[in-house]
């Protein structure tokens, strides 16, 4: 098994320095007596460098970002709608929103993804990216709506009264006075939800969407390396969530500075 997997490498044209480095240790590898650093190079070569395999991770990362972005957008819009329904004071709307949130939060996301993929879109030819966006967005909306709702409830009742006493309608008061303040309070929790969402799109590997986790898994199926492909995927997740955390932290600090103006 080991030799079959090295076969590809042996046949490759030694066109670049990475291939040459590999050829230099290839015999030792077949004999099974690589030292520590050589072993690490072998892992990296097979799982990342060889045959432009790094492209697989980047393509996976692209899909992860694509799904996350549109799912976050969809989840935010639907979440705000659900929160407004929940606070509308109209009993049927409150009920619908409450039941939706209850179902989404009370069942595993994997199950939701499977139901949407095989149940709802089972007989329809549709891009799995779209299925992913819908599934993750529907899921995220339930959590976002609770975050937005608590943000709205945190705004003092006097703000609404002041708005209404100026003759503003309920909706104008919500849009111009309550919502901007609610969003600021909700921002940290909202950021957390977005970061969670990015990681949770990995569940879509289960419906064979080649996002970042599935990309790593695909490489593993080629190289049988148990660790390296997943670690490469993991590092890429860390880079994305790390950058996002930094950016959102900056945004938060800017908003907080606004308090002291």
């Amino acid at each position: 098994m080991f030799s079959t997997l090295l076969l590809g490498a042996a046949e490759a044209v030694s066109s670049n320095i990475f291939d040459q480095w590999w050829l230099a240790i290839k015999d030792k590898a077949l004999a099974g007596n690589l030292d520590f650093w050589e072993n690490i190079y072998k892992e990296i070569y097979q799982n990342v460098l060889y045959n432009n395999r790094w492209m697989n991770y980047l393509r996976g990362l692209g899909i992860t970002l694509e799904v996350s972005f549109f799912a976050a957008l969809f989840g935010l819009l639907l979440g705000v709608l659900l929160a407004l329904m929940r606070l509308s004071g109209v009993k049927p709307l409150e009920k619908i929103s409450g039941v939706y949130i209850g179902i989404i939060r009370g069942t595993p996301m994997l199950l939701q993804v499977l139901i949407i993929n095989f149940g709802i879109f089972g007989s329809i030819a549709i891009d799995r990216v779209i299925i992913g966006v819908i599934a993750c967005g529907l899921n995220s909306a339930a959590y976002v709506s609770e975050i937005i709702r608590s943000g709205i409830l945190s705004v003092d009742k006097g703000q609404t009264e002041a708005g209404r006493s100026l003759g503003l309608s309920n909706w104008q008061t919500m849009r111009l006075i309550v919502f901007p303040q609610a969003l600021k309070t909700a921002l940290p929790a909202l950021c957390n939800e977005f970061i969670t969402l990015i990681k949770e799109t990995s569940i879509l590997a289960y419906i064979a969407l080649t996002e970042l986790t599935k990309a790593g898994d695909y490489i593993r199926s080629k190289t049988y390396s148990a660790f390296t492909p997943y670690i490469v995927s993991g590092i890429l997740y860390l880079v994305v969530t790390g950058v996002l955390t930094k950016l959102l932290g900056k945004l938060e600090r800017r908003l907080r500075q606004g308090d002291n103006r």
């Binding site: 209404r164 100026l166 003759g167 006075i177 606004g258």
Partner: protein, 240 residues
Amino acid sequence: MITVKNLHKHFGDLEVLNGIDQHIKPGEKVVIIGPSGSGKSTFLRCLNLLEKPTSGQIFFEGAEITAPKVDIDAIRCRMGMVFQQFNLFPHLSVMGNVTLAPITHKLMSKEQAQKRAMELLTRVGLPEKADAFPKQLSGGQQQRIAIVRALAMNPDVMLFDEPTSALDPEMVGEVLDVMKRLAEDGMTMVVVTHEMGFAREVGDRVLFMDGGLVVEEGTPGEIFDHPRQPRTQDFLRKVL
């Protein structure tokens, strides 16, 4: 200008207003005093329907505002209200606070609204605070801005709900001064307050409320110097 007929308000089993009949004339300054829990704030908040009366009728400039299907937003445009806790909008500058309602209602263009706001801010002595945010201001300044915000809608009547109760003592005066000048300009005012000096000086008519009823009413002289009801006498003994 405002006529109240047999106004009742219950919160569950709690009866807060037990039948109030009042008529407030244009230009009149009505000051409402009374112990806490007497229903005076609730009465005031019923006048612009921030509280929905349980029963009874309220007429404002000839129209019944307690009628179903009435456009309460249009009515509130003509009734300014000032709150105990100021309730300025913290995410907007002073200018944003003052111009929000006139611009949203399309009563004025942005430029007109800002010009009007500057006039009003100058009248309360705070023109240099136009770009400040509420959190940077003292309580007294915030309350003066809140008055300006209500005035920016050019209301026909101003409702004041304990406007100085949340202020540090040294800031009470500056807010009362603004209110006195407003009174001199002829504004119709309904003021719930614990400031007996203000009630005596500015009020045309003083209402003493207790237990959800107007127990006694009259000119400041009648109420403060010659109260007839024992409950009024008892209350004034405690606060004066």
